[in-house]
Symmetry: C2
Subunit: 177 residues, 2 copies
DNA sequence: GGACGCGGAGAACGTACGTTCTCCAGTTCT
DNA sequence: AGAACTGGAGAACGTACGTTCTCCGCGTCC
């Protein structure tokens, strides 16, 4: 097995496990078992668990935003489509909220790289919304709705939080014109 | 030292430590040191760490909602006052987001009592908003804004998230009439 | 064919921490 | 005063886990 393939497998396993159970609850041994990569190789690819966590977050950020971007783009970049995408996400089996918010809660004082990954993800999403809804603070307001809906859907388990937020977003968009 | 006083001190110490550093990062020994209560007594009051965590969450829920309720009531129960209160909270030194959201992220599969405390807190806040803004789904929309602002303020460190959410809330309230 | 090096399996090590146990000083009751 | 009890300080125990080490088989090169 090639080293880049090992890295892929590790990241795949890490994402499944970390997202489902939380980072702290998953041991390196579980990642090894799930990925089929030996511990020695694991530590060659990622010298410490923090490095793996950081890579997991970066990868998740990119995939998550790509999925959102493509979905919304296919709907003519309608800002409301963001909330339709959210609803689908919330309804996925295994949905457990935002990986970045969860990680933020998990680490009281996150390692610098992890804290940066979390902040960067939120900054990127915010920037994306600003592209979608230029001008004014409207994008920031929508962002707040997105985050709130995600958190509440995770805790209550109700994908309908997306619909609630969508309703609010519609009013805000109409008000701005 | 009386047993109820020990309980008080333990909960006080637990809240300070758990909220500041996260539950998992704080050992029972740290709670003992901070509270000045002996380990033996600690385990008499709370047979296991989970019990202490649960009590911490219940106490925090009550105090947090009481503070919000009183502030908003002093402003004539104006729904927008909720966001003013949030802004003050976000600006407090040591603000680290919502204890319940953080705990939710911290535990992949929380112990039943802890999961229940988290869900109960959110249900109580939602119910409070429904009292404040009766009828329709408006209260739920405001709730989403509240949660979103809290999460974003925690991650970005910017209390201005409350102002953003307040602006959105104002539009929503005006739209409903 | 034999020496060499890479990679895997899993043991081993150190540490942290939840929980329990031991011991002892001070207090109360007879 | 002496016995019994209470509560505190901190050692001890078991476990989990991040990380490193050991050993061995297998393919590669002289």
């Amino acid at each position: 097995m090639n080293s880049t393939e090992a890295t892929d497998r590790l990241l795949e396993a890490a994402e499944e496990l970390f997202y489902a159970h939380g980072v702290q609850a998953v041991g390196m041994d579980a990642v090894r078992e799930r990925s089929g990569v030996s511990l020695k190789r694991l530590y060659q690819c990622f010298p410490a668990k923090n490095d793996l966590v950081e890579a997991y977050l970066l990868r998740r950020d990119e995939r998550w935003r790509k999925s959102l971007r493509e979905f919304v783009h296919a709907r003519g970049d309608d800002p409301l489509a963001v909330f339709d995408w959210l609803k689908n996400w919330f309804a996925e089996p295994g949905f457990r909220g935002c990986a970045f918010i969860n990680s933020f809660g998990e680490f009281g004082e996150p390692a610098p790289g992890i804290a940066a990954a979390i902040r960067r993800h939120k900054a990127e999403v915010r920037a994306y919304l600003h592209d979608l809804v230029p001008g004014g603070g409207l994008a920031d307001q929508l962002f707040s709705l997105v985050e709130g809906a995600t958190v509440l859907a995770a805790i209550t388990g109700d994908p309908g939080e997306a619909t609630t937020a969508r309703g609010a977003a519609k009013v805000l968009l109409a008000a701005q014109g």
